[in-house]
Symmetry: C2
């Protein structure tokens, strides 16, 4: 047998650096955006990159992601999920850097965001208009995050993590449409969401030009996974599919 698992002494080995990179999504005027940071030095000086940084020695991975998230946005207690670990040896020209990618969803009504509108080095970008290419392999990471978000929309209640606390059913439908990139039938959407029994009616309404809208709240006792909006044949939240979308750029 190999001696690897049993006898290696970790200190004998040269160690890679380990970072977390976070794909932070939010809705801004009903469109899906993500946060990018402009790099100010080599490597990839002047390129946009995902917020991220090195893991501290005594810090859990999720905590590292949460810390990066809070440093950039000032936000805590949001939906956070580990996505995939990217470790191609030359993805960072400085040294071997392995990056654990996370996805975070920030609700549209969270206003503590540190990201000022005028800031030139930290900005929200609509996912349909991302600068390209991004630094490192971050194109690949964002492509994968988008794929996973789209995929999970269909069998989880992730969409609620992007909406404000109260919302109308048509706003929810709009969110699905934005992210899935597809029109949904109004009647069928109402039926599905009502049957799923994940919403709780508030006594609030919102006036508009026509009939006022009833506002709803996500039933808090339901977890994230109990809701199936739709099953599709071509779901694929697999890394392989992301790779197809954005072929790996190899620097060097």
């Amino acid at each position: 047998m190999s001696e690897t698992a049993t006898t290696y002494n970790p200190s004998r080995y040269e160690r890679p650096s380990v970072t977390v990179d976070v794909v932070i999504f939010t809705l801004r005027n009903r469109e899906l955006h993500l946060l990018l940071v402009k790099r100010s030095r080599w490597p990839f000086e002047g390129f946009w990159a995902l917020p991220g940084g090195f893991i501290e020695m005594h810090e859990d991975l999720d905590d590292a992601a949460r810390r990066e998230l809070e440093e950039e946005t000032g936000v805590r207690d949001v939906y956070l999920e580990q996505l995939y670990t990217f470790g191609e040896p030359k993805r960072d020209p400085r040294t071997r850097v392995i990056s654990i990618a996370y996805m975070a969803l920030i609700r549209a009504d969270v206003h503590q965001l540190r990201v000022s509108e005028e800031s030139t080095d930290v900005r929200w970008f609509p996912v349909r208009e991302l600068p390209q290419p991004l630094a490192f392999d971050h194109d690949q990471i964002t492509a994968y995050a988008l794929l996973r978000l789209r995929s999970k929309l269909e069998y989880t209640t992730l969409a609620f993590q992007l909406l404000p606390e109260v919302f109308s059913i048509l706003e929810l439908k709009d969110t699905y449409e934005q992210i899935l990139g597809e029109q949904l039938d109004k009647g069928n959407f109402y039926r599905k969401i009502k049957e799923a029994d994940v919403l709780e009616e508030t006594n609030l309404t919102r006036e508009g030009r026509g009939r006022p809208t009833r506002l709803w709240r996500f039933k808090p006792e339901r977890g994230d996974k109990q809701f199936v909006f739709r099953w599709r044949e071509d779901r694929s939240d697999d890394r392989d599919s992301a790779t197809l979308l954005t072929p790996t750029r190899k620097e060097n």
Copy 2:
């Protein structure tokens, strides 16, 4: 903004060790097994652990997993998929070790396995009779791998990666039943698999006590993801669910 993404110099930081651990599945007399290695020294001396080892400095993550796989089993070219990265700071008492978990599926007809039947320190265990607890957080990792395997069975053709090159439809059904832990209807199974058009008839049959069985082959041109056996309400290949199954043991 934070300086993390842009100005950190990786060499300034203390680095964690990074390993890959591989959950290697196979079918042995129609039952799902996975490979474990007995540890011969501290920490967890005498405990069973997943095969794994440290990542080499210039080696891709997948290659590291493939290398570990080959060292333990002698097998190449099998299905391999990254699962999740485990990095709880105290999961390894020696030092900070971050482990990238992989899952591998080995076909039942691969006989080059280095694992001898008599070996006392490397063994196949039926997934229903795993020694417990395993070393480190490997209970958690195996629980998650099982969850993911079960989940993906239902919307991919992963099951074919476990079967020999030619097989009968009822063997395939049996594999599904073994892994899902549930009886399936024969007629409905035949219908589904035929409609999916993922099988190619061979001119082989196998004789038994009753009517001989036709043997089939997986259509190679189909990828892994095009086949939907069934959608379920409670699918969850999420890490959270695995955590619920096997609460994290904290040593120390």
